[in-house]
Amino acid sequence: MNMVEENKEFWRWSEKVWRDETMDWQGSESITAGIDVGSVSSQAVVMVDGKVYAYHSTRTGSSSPSSAHKALDGALEGSDLTLEDVHYVVGTGYGRVNVPFANRAITEISCHARGANFMAGPSIRTILDMGGQDCKVMRCDENGKVQNFIMNDKCAAGTGRGMEVIADALGVPIEDIGSRSFETDGRPPVVSNVCTVFAKSEATALLKAGWSVNNVLASYCAAMADRVAGLIERIGVEPEFFITGGIAKNEGVVNRVEGIIGVRAIPLDESTNLDPQIAGALGAAVFAQALLKKERKKATHQG
C-alpha cells in the first residue's frame, strides 16, 4: 500500500493517493476509470475487473481538463499501468463535460449513488453527499439507482465551502474541525445557519467577545448540521443511511446530523481502504465497467 499525504492550507482536505500493490492488472479483462472533476477537488478511481486498483484525490485547478489529467496521473503514478491501458473512462462532477479522455459523462447524482452502493453495500437507501459547492440527498434502490434527490447548490451555507470559510477564518485545519468541535467548555453560542458571509463576520465577533475557537467551531458544526438535516427531512430518510464527500470525514457535522434526524450513518469499512470523498469517481468507474461490458457485447453481435 502506498500513501502520500501533504498539508498546505487550512481549508482543503489533504491530497490522497492509494493503490493496491498486490493486484496484478496484466491479463485482466476490463480496466476502467472514473474521473470526478468537482468545484474544489477532483478524484480519479481506476478499477480492474470490478475491483478498485488505485485512486487519487487532488485539488481542482482553473482548468477542468488539466485537473482531470492530474487526478488520473496521480492515481497511476509509480504504476506501470497507463491511460492507454484503460478501456473505458466515465467523467462526472461539475466539470464532467471537460474530461478530454472520457468515453462518456454521467451526472454526479447517479455516480454518487452508485459509488455509495459499491462502498457500503446494496442496503443503502439514503445518501447524503456534502461536496465543495453543493449538498445533495439521494434516495436509491438496491442497485444504487437513484429514485429521487434534492440538492442545494445555490447557497454556500450548508456546503463544504461554508465550512472552508470558517476553517480559514479561525485558522483551524479542516481535518481537525470535527474533533475540536467536541472539546468545548460550557454551552457554545447559537449562531445563524444562513449566510456564510455573515457567518464569517459573526465568528470573528464571537472570538472577540471571548468565546474559544473550539466553542465557535461547535456552533458552526451545529448550524451546518441543522441546515443539512433540513434538506434531508425534506426528502425523507430511509435506512440504511450513508454519507459521502469531504464533510463525511467531519464527525462534528456527521454526529450532529445523526442526532437531529435520529438515524445513524453506516460507517465506512476501513479495511476497504476507500475514502468517502471518492464516491463520485468510484461510481463513475463502476458505470464504466458496465458500459464497457455492454459495448463489447454489442461489438461481438455486430462482428
Binding site: 482553473s62 459547492q133 447557497c155 454556500a156 445563524s192 444562513v194 458571509v197 455573515f198 472577540k208 467577545a209
Partner: protein, 272 residues
Amino acid sequence: MITAGIDVGSKNIHVVILRDEELVGRWVVASGFEQAEAAWRALEGAAGDAGITVEDVDYTVGTGVGRKSVDFVDHRVTEIAADARGAYRLIPDARTVIDVGADEARAIRIDETGKVLDFAVNEKCAAGAGVFVEAMSRALEVSLQEFGEMSARSKESIPMNAQCTVFAESEVVSLIHNNVPKHDIAKACHDAMAGRVAAMARRAGLEEEKVVLGGGVALNMGFVKALQETLSIGEITVLPDPEFLGALGAAIIGAEKGAGTTAGLGKQPQGA
C-alpha cells in the same frame, strides 16, 4: 430644540443632529465590536460638527440593526420607520424607498402622508447587500469607487450564474481567467445585485412614482444604473447624502417625539 438620530448599522454608525429640524451636524464612525462606545463617539463627533456639546442635545433616537446595544438613547425606532420618515422629508412625493446598506437592504412603500404601507427586507443573505459589491471589487482587485465607475462604462451584458456571494467570488475569478474585461465583470456583478434588490422592491409592491434610493450603496453609480435598467423605470432619485438616511429619519422622529417633553440625554455608556 436639538435632536440626534443615531443609526447603528452593521458596518458604520451614522449620526445626524437637527436644531429645530434643521440639519446642523453629522458624523460617521465604524461600528466595530463595541457598538455603544462607537455610537457615543459618533454622537460626540456630530455634536462637534454642529458646534455644540453632547449635553446640548435634548433628545436622542436610535435606529439600525445594533440600536438595542446603545443604552443611552431616549427612544428607539425600526430602520423601516426611520428610512420612511427620512425619505419623506427629503422628497415628499417619494412612494417607494429603497435602502441598500452593508449587510441589509429594504424596500418600503409609503403613502402621500409618509405612512408605511408595506415593506420587504433582505437580511439573511449577503447577495443583494453592500457586502456583495465589496467582495466582488476585492476579487477584481479594484477600489469600490473604481468598481462602480468601470461598471457604468460597460456595454456588455454577461449573466452571472451564482447567486451566493461566496460562489460569485469564484465565478468572478474564473471570468478573470477567461480574460473577460474587468468593466464587463463589474457590470455583471452590479446586474446580479440589482436583480436581487429589484425582486425585493417588487415584493414590497413597487410604486414607480417615485422611487428614491438611500443607503451607502446608493453612492455606487454602477449599481444605481443597473437598478434603473433592471426596474426599467424612468428615473431613480438618489437621496442627498444617502448613507445618512436612517439617522436623519431617526432625528426627525426625535424632534416630533421630544417636542413638549423634557427628556434629556440618558446615561452614558460604561467606559465612555
